[in-house]
Symmetry: C2
DNA sequence: GATACCGGTATACTTTAGGAAACCGGTATA
DNA sequence: TATACCGGTTTCCTAAAGTATACCGGTATC
């Protein structure tokens, strides 16, 4: 669930190029897919970005991101939690208060997103310039 | 087509947190989404990896990647071409020979994939260790 | 003359991601 | 007593991604 299924990129010696050792297919691609899975999807990035500015409550996140339904937000937050990237704190107030926060581990995504941003910016310029 | 649609992350001052200047939503997220779009999908990574080992012919790529249908391969190669990441060379042999190759620009993806790999490997260890 | 390879395309189908709307118990507010 | 907010869940539906299968013209092989 949290990590990419081995079988998806199972190696077949007869079919993979000789450059690929049996383990190489797996060890090269699976972790990359894991990282991509965590960041791709329609809302994940925006939710993560929203949380980089501090703790947020459920409805607060939803209001900040136009179009985001509670169903999707709930699903994505659960995934972030399962991956230990965000934490959920319930306070015994009335009505109940729930806060979500990026974990220290979750913050390690920042430089990675930074790299994607760098490459993406250059690409954007290149493609726009071409037209 | 090649780059992420602006409207998807259109900014709404009333709904975004005050930390976000109007331009920040766009300039932060769109390039990241562009980069993710290029790498995500079921086959893109494997095709790119296959091409990092040198020129390849259509059927050759298909044979190397079990389960990949010609329709998907064709679609993905076109996208790589449109993004100037791969080039297509047709040779007037019989039967016709077509070779695909990563462009110099396409090779700039390597360090980015490397970063995803680094983060993903750590994540994989972390999640597996927990169980 | 039949079969197989090349580089694909076309059509129809299934599966997955995401959206719309209604709803839940509990509490506060008018 | 009615309405609204909180943090979600449930159900049903659409749209997008991906799969299966057959097919194309051209050439080479048996």
């Amino acid at each position: 669930m949290y990590i990419c299924n081995m079988e998806l990129i199972e190696h077949d010696k007869r079919k993979c190029p000789t450059h690929f050792s049996t383990g190489e297919c797996k060890t090269r691609l699976l972790p990359v897919k894991d990282a991509l899975d965590i960041l791709s999807g329609k809302w994940k990035l925006q939710i993560i970005l929203s949380l980089t500015f501090g703790k947020k409550r459920f409805k607060q996140i939803q209001r900040e991101i136009p179009g985001l339904t509670p169903k999707m937000l709930s699903k994505e937050l659960k995934e972030l939690e399962m991956n230990e990237l965000a934490s959920r704190h319930v306070y015994d107030t009335s009505p109940v208060t729930v806060e979500y926060e990026l974990t220290a581990y979750g913050k390690t995504l920042k430089p990675l997103i930074g790299e994607l941003h760098k490459w993406g910016s250059k690409h954007r310029k290149r493609i726009i310039a071409r037209k």
